[in-house]
């Protein structure tokens, strides 16, 4: 399984683990501080989840309402069954507009459908404009964190990268590096024919899409080019404009620990008058790509409530050690471990539901109360039931559990076995466990034996 191999690679990378520890700890602390300013955080979480549940329950109706209202405001709404269809639609729009260069602001959905590669095949260059995404793209890598895509890179690595690709003098001053990226990207913004963005929330009642960010690159992407394409998963819709209130309070606090990110752009259709600012065309692409299937069960449906804040990544003891790349998916961390198998097929991500200690930290921080451990267990059961990834390890595991179950329901067999183990001093074969920990030796006599020998008659010191 590639997950095991990649996780090992990540664990051996001291620099990566240091950066991860710093980032996840900082975001965790900032998040806690941001929550402290909210008197009824639990109430807000409940309300947000109830809104999401209500929306998903009637997703067909809310999507139709959203599409109708967005179209009434001048947007063109497209429906994409899968990744290939979405890439075709966006590639088609770009070609029709004669676009050679497109600027992109951060969109997980665009990474999910591998849009940049699809555009490149049509001879169209897609430029990532979020600083972290830009760094990752220049380096020919993939993001390792939802909120901080280039968290795996040091400023020295970024300085060398910029010196090589942008021709700037090497500098380890972060502000200088950011300024170099700004200058390079301003030229791209000025020449781009098309802007592609993601969507954080889509309001059915008004046909509005909302995009959150801190840098201003999403505003550039959605304001400067003549055509704006917004790509969104079908689960991004919420019923009412007023519902934005609770989600805007939950998302930045959970993601970056900010009370509000620097910018929220609320876009409703296209400009009304010729002299208005902004694109002439707005295309909204609604992407299914496996999402509708997740509605079929109450357990799996929960994952569609996710607002992509990244809080579960920062809280996860597994993610905190291995980072995003090991998950081998655009969606890393606990939420990725439940989304990837459902979106891209269990066979391709069968190891991910096991990439968790089921400690529940993800569920505790989730602003929409997704029960990720329950989902992980559900998917593990599915892995077993469907017989995906049956390897030697799985056969051994099944055998071990069969023996365990057989012994544990037979007290006399258990006692006899334990006596044998004790007298023969057999150590159980737990190499993976004892590699990092000492196994305590077995007591010379079992508790039951000691009890029968009079332990039960003694009074404890406190009695």
């Amino acid at each position: 399984m590639t997950f095991e191999r990649d996780a090992r690679t990540a664990l051996a990378d001291g620099q990566l683990r240091g950066a991860l520890r710093q980032a996840t700890t900082l975001f965790g602390e900032r998040r806690r501080a941001a929550l402290a300013t909210v008197p009824d955080w639990e109430g807000a979480r409940d309300r947000a989840r109830a809104i999401k549940d209500e929306t998903l329950e009637h997703l067909d109706r809310y999507l139709e309402e959203f599409a109708a209202n967005a179209e009434r405001a001048g947007a063109c709404v497209h429906w994409a069954r899968d990744a290939a269809a979405a890439c075709d639609i966006i590639g088609g729009i770009a070609e029709r507009r004669g676009a050679r260069t497109v600027v992109k602001s951060k969109s997980m959905a665009s990474e999910e459908i591998h849009l940049n590669a699809a555009l490149a095949r049509r001879g169209i260059e897609a430029v990532e404009t979020d600083l972290g995404e830009y760094i990752v793209q220049l380096a020919g890598e993939t993001p390792s964190h939802i909120v901080v895509p280039a968290i795996h890179k040091t400023k020295a690595q970024i300085a060398a990268l910029f010196a090589d690709k942008l021709g700037i003098a090497p500098s380890d001053d972060v502000a200088t590096l950011a300024a170099a990226a700004r200058d390079a990207l301003r030229r791209r913004f000025a020449e781009a024919d098309l802007g592609i963005s993601g969507v954080n929330f889509a309001v059915a009642e008004t046909g509005t899409i909302l995009i959150l960010e801190n840098e201003g690159n999403a505003r550039m992407t959605t304001s400067l080019p003549h055509t704006h394409v917004a790509l969104m998963g079908i689960e991004k819709v919420i019923p009412r404009f007023a519902d934005l209130d609770v989600f805007l309070q939950l998302l930045p606090r959970s993601g970056t620990g900010q009370v509000l990110t620097a910018y929220q752009s609320l876009i409703t259709g296209t400009k009304r008058r010729a002299e208005d600012e902004g694109p002439e065309e707005l295309h909204i692409v609604l992407l299914d790509n496996g999402r509708s299937r997740m509605l079929a069960s109450r357990v799996t449906r929960q994952a569609l409530a996710c607002i992509r804040c990244g809080a579960c990544l920062n809280a996860c003891p597994v993610y905190r050690q291995i980072g995003g790349h090991a998950y081998g998916s655009v969606y890393p961390g606990p939420i990725g471990a439940v989304l990837s198998p459902q979106l891209f097929g269990l066979a391709r991500s069968a190891a991910l539901p096991y990439a968790s200690s089921l400690c529940g930290a993800c569920r505790d921080v989730c602003p929409v109360k997704i029960d990720i451990p329950a989902l992980l267990l559900h998917l593990r059961a599915q892995v077993v039931a469907e017989g995906v990834a049956v390897g030697k390890g799985h056969l051994r595991e099944r055998l071990a559990f069969w023996i365990y179950a057989t012994v544990m329901v037979r007290p006399r067999l258990f006692a006899w076995l334990m006596r044998a183990v004790r007298s023969l001093r057999i150590m159980p074969p737990l190499g993976a466990w004892t590699k990092w920990r000492d196994l305590r030796p077995l007591a010379p006599r079992s508790f039951r034996e000691q009890w029968r020998a009079g332990l039960g008659d003694q009074r404890g010191p406190d009695a």
């Binding site: 980032a23 300013t37 909210v38 008197p39 109430g43 309300r47 989840r49 549940d53 329950e57 997703l59 067909d60 999507l63 139709e64 599409a67 001048g74 497209h78 429906w79 069954r81 269809a85 600083l131 760094i135 895509p149 280039a150 400023k155 972060v174 502000a175 590096l177 950011a178 700004r182 301003r186 000025a190 046909g207 801190n214 840098e215 690159n217 550039m220 304001s223 400067l224 404009f241 007023a242 209130d245 009370v259 509000l260 620097a262 910018y263 929220q264 752009s265 609320l266 409703t268 400009k271 002299e275 208005d276 600012e277 902004g278 299914d288 299937r293 079929a296 069960s297 109450r298 449906r301």
Partner: protein, 222 residues
């Protein structure tokens, strides 16, 4: 048509999958739950309290604020802001108030009109001056509506953004602001402090793609 087919297919898949599962056991329907979600503790009070909270929050998010009592004072404050920053080329929005303030700013500064600028010239400007339609006290946020003014690019592209806001337009909370907005504006922008990033080693850099400086001219009086 293919697009129509995809729409039908997706909606059909949604309905089929929803029908195959019992409804999610969830907390009470959102309409029946009280309140508007989160409420911040402080700041319930009159205009004075709102203004105080708004200016405190502006400072917390790294924006500057100057209180002015007239257009003359606003022009003087703007001239100072521009001189201190060494700004030479300034563009104002089409709001009459902005035009009047800019006209009184003095003659060391080149004042351009947005509609006469090419994209390259816009990129070369030092400062953009707009009004803001609303302020949000709880968060130190400015709200700009496209139907009221051409402020979308001027509040974004130049490194300095100066926004004129009347104290009467400061709302209490995000929810209050959302309730006052109308989607007659095709673009509504919420601005909370300057543009920022922590993408390189989590080190905060202010002023990435958007302005490095956000300065609010808070207008008191009639």
């Amino acid at each position: 048509m293919r697009s129509g087919d995809a729409r039908r297919e997706i909606l059909h898949a949604i309905r089929t999958n929803l029908e195959s599962s019992p409804p999610v056991q969830s907390s009470p329907s959102p309409e029946r739950r009280g309140g508007q979600g989160v409420r911040t503790p402080e700041g319930r009070g009159g205009q004075e309290v709102r203004i105080k909270r708004f200016t405190e929050q502006l400072a917390a998010v790294g924006a500057q604020c100057t209180t002015v009592r007239s257009e003359t004072e606003a022009a003087a404050a703007l001239a100072r802001i521009l001189a201190d920053a060494g700004a030479r080329r300034v563009v104002g929005s089409d709001a009459p108030l902005v035009q009047r303030i800019l006209a009184a700013v003095g003659n060391d500064i080149v004042i351009d009109r947005l509609e006469r600028l090419s994209r390259d010239e816009l990129f070369a400007c030092d400062a953009g001056v707009t009004t803001a339609q609303w302020g949000i006290a709880d968060t130190g946020t400015l709200v700009l509506e496209s139907a009221r003014e051409r402020s979308r690019l001027l509040s974004l592209v130049p490194p300095i953004h100066v926004a004129v806001l009347s104290v009467r337009c400061i709302c209490e909370s995000l929810g209050d602001a959302l309730a006052r907005l109308s989607v007659a504006s095709h673009a509504i922008t919420f601005i909370t402090g300057p543009s920022r990033t922590s993408d390189i080693e989590l080190t905060l850099v202010v002023g990435v793609h958007g302005p490095q400086t956000v300065h609010v001219l808070l207008m008191e009086g009639p």
